[in-house]
Point group: C2
């Protein structure tokens, strides 16, 4: 009884569609172009042109690169209606004399004013350089440049998920916190509770502060690969798209302390060709589809952005030795350290800007888990994919699947769980990692990686 009374009294009798039909996002207003229809939009004034009896306002709501032109009779203009203000406008859709869709306002409401002189950093009719915009991370999505990049980023992540789903891959959330310091690379972040009371309450004799919470030192992941391999040996084909971290003291245009990595592990993969074919197919899919979905955004980011000339060509493959040879003839000798950034870009240029796989790498340049090359036992079956703009974009390999061989190469007992994967019903696998931000750099022609994600983190920069 009680129950029924209360429910009737306060039950939420609302209809989802009613609520959200109140106004339309500009992307769909422009797409549908329903001339004569009563329409309500909400967004920000990007530009304001005052004429004799009329005011023309370009309104954007972030849903697409394009703006809606709104015609406002002068009597509806208030002082708050300025460049940068947020508005709610209702009126009727029509075609302008030039054939452009426009909304003739019947009602104008200003939600929030925007007084540039009070410190709003973006001036009307001004294209600010990315370094300037980057100083205002919290307001940056209001710029054309940044909002376009974030829409492209959103589409690219959607494309990645739909590509893998279409191939029956399972998405796995590999852990961010790990007790594995990943190949002893050294450049990792460690993690511990900030609250001294928590540390004190959990402290045990002989423990260090940085291992008291989890019982072992804990780091931020540098790669989900080893965890993905464990999943692959039960779930089959798997992938992950998530944050990874490097504590390097690097401020280059290609490095971040926090970045996103797409990693995939292909079950029953026993030849590096299979990896190459997968990566090439996936990249061509993304580069093709993004033009169908976000062409206006690409143009907003860079007016010179063009379809890559390599899109209908085969990617090139060179062995590491061949690549060295080519670099040597160009006067760029490689050292024991491998191929540096300048040399990577020289190799791409040499291949006329077509992405190039470098395969069959010297063992000592690559990780312990990579499989020996059948053609040459001093080499491993690894690959790097080099592209314009960034050089290395993808790294991958076949994984050592022989229990004894892997045991002899294992860098730490802490990885015994990884070794044990080879003991019980093991399968051959291979996989790769691709930096999402670098992919966006290539896709959008953005030279600084810090402009490819909403909140870049690098040394001395972790604002907000």
């Amino acid at each position: 009884m009680w129950f029924k009374q209360i429910c009737t009294k306060v039950k939420c009798n609302i209809n989802f569609n009613q609520i959200h039909r109140k106004y339309s996002v500009i992307a769909s207003v422009l797409e549908k172009s329903n001339i004569g229809e009563l329409t309500e939009v909400k967004g920000w004034v990007k530009n304001l042109r005052v004429q004799k009896d009329l005011i023309f306002a370009d309104v954007s709501d972030g849903s697409c690169a394009k703006r809606l032109q709104v015609v406002i009779p002068k009597h509806l203009k208030t002082d708050d209606l300025t460049y940068g203000s947020s508005v709610h406008i209702s009126g009727k859709l029509s075609k302008s004399p030039r054939g452009q869709l426009e909304l003739t306002a019947e009602n104008v409401k200003v939600y929030g004013k925007c007084v540039v002189l009070e410190g709003y950093p973006f001036n009307p009719r001004t294209t600010h350089p990315p370094e300037y915009i980057r100083q205002y991370l919290h307001l940056r999505p209001r710029t054309n440049y940044m909002s376009a990049i974030l829409r492209v980023r959103n589409t690219v992540t959607n494309l990645i998920h739909s590509y893998f789903a279409s191939k029956n891959y399972i998405h796995i959330h590999t852990p961010i916190l790990t007790s594995n310091d990943c190949e002893g690379a050294g450049e990792v972040f460690k993690v511990q509770p900030d609250n001294e009371a928590t540390v004190k309450a959990m402290m045990q004799k002989g423990r260090n502060e940085d291992s008291v919470y989890f019982g072992s030192k804990t780091y931020l992941t540098v790669s989900g690969q080893l965890h993905l391999e464990a999943m692959c040996r039960g779930m089959g084909n798997v992938y992950t798209l998530g944050p990874t971290f490097r504590a390097e003291n690097s401020r280059s245009r290609l490095h971040l302390s926090e970045f996103y990595m797409l990693e995939a592990e292909i079950a029953f993969c026993d030849h590096i060709d299979q990896l190459q074919a997968f990566i090439e197919d996936m990249l061509k899919y993304i580069f093709t589809e993004i033009r169908n979905k976000n062409e206006s955004d690409l143009f907003l980011i860079d007016k010179e952005n063009k379809i890559p000339t390599w899109l209908n060509k085969d990617f090139v493959t060179l062995t590491y030795d061949e690549a060295r040879n080519i670099l040597g003839k160009k006067g760029l000798d490689t050292t024991e350290e491998g191929i540096n950034k300048e040399q990577e870009l020289a190799l791409v240029e040499y291949c006329n800007g077509v992405p190039v796989f470098i395969v069959r790498w010297p063992k000592q340049l690559k990780s312990f888990y990579m499989k020996d090359s059948p053609e040459d036992s001093s080499k491993v079956d690894a690959l790097d994919l080099l592209t314009p703009v960034t050089g290395e974009l993808v790294g991958g390999s076949l994984r050592e699947d022989d229990y004894e061989k892997l045991k002899s190469k294992l860098p730490s007992e802490a990885l015994n769980w990884y070794l044990e994967l080879r003991k019980f019903g093991n399968i051959p696998t291979g996989g790769f990692g691709l930096g999402l931000e670098r992919l966006l750099q290539v896709l959008c022609g953005v030279s600084n990686i810090k402009d490819t994600l909403p909140f870049p983190r690098w040394p001395h920069n972790c604002d907000m």
Copy 2:
């Protein structure tokens, strides 16, 4: 010239489809059921029944809950072909006398043997309890229970992304590292480089070790909400699905140190009804679609799993005061601390298991950024959604959009950027956060949250 020669010599002349057509995943073999077709599958032997001339093997490759029955003539049996081994089988598809699809093997190759006596923790024909399985994180995906949960998790994340995409929401990667300790909640992890050489090289006079890298103390995020609000005020509707962290010393069946949160921020949202309608619609979509896509997995996890009785009912809404009243009559008095877990579950029971929104919360129980309730200035326009199994599943609110009011409530100057969002073209917004693992608990009827993700982290547990 050079270029052409090399490219012709080593160019990767492989066809993607050729490589991947070599074998089929079992999910698609079962779906297509092409009787008479030559078929190759790769996977693990889950069960082996030896008869006079024939061996029956159930093979699974992780792609679906169901197994493929393989009939193996005895002469193809080797010693390595046992329970747990990984195999490559080719043969012809037929219908068994019982009408079941089966593969009659013509070729059997064992990739990796599996000797249970050498330490493989899972016995044939045994259902191990989840606590036992949880001890073997790296092998856990080989169990029916865990692989089914991970497939459901994969589908749920895909459903979330497609739901938001269909409503024109932009996915934002809010940062994992933040200088904002989030409302001073205290239970955060701090982050610093592990490498002493890096710390030494970057050290400046007067700096503490834990602020030397980023120039300020840095934490793992506890919520992306404030960052999402910044994005919403330029991009419109936005959401994020990513990892969040709590350094609490809690080992309950509902808490993790690392977990995933779905957070959404709705642009131009000015009534809590809109939030409620959104959440209810989204949850009903997910609970309906998961049964279309993963019914066999849900059954594998819990044979008793049934369609929730509330799926075709309206969610209930109670104000906080009404909820207290009900609890009081049940002899469960609330304190100043709000509603505890026992009380949450009592309220859901009171509503006959239908999810219930608790709205209009006392100000002092909720966060500084929540908007005053127009009906009662001692209350804020916040909501909790309570469900069976977990109690609280979602928390949300309208956001304070008045510059002066927010300024008076701001807990720290470090949040001045957040305040400034209200200064320039501000809009009303509201949003919510939903724990992905708790959603999976409700969906699958899994009582311990540690079984809803591949690598659970909680105090004293960060293996691998």
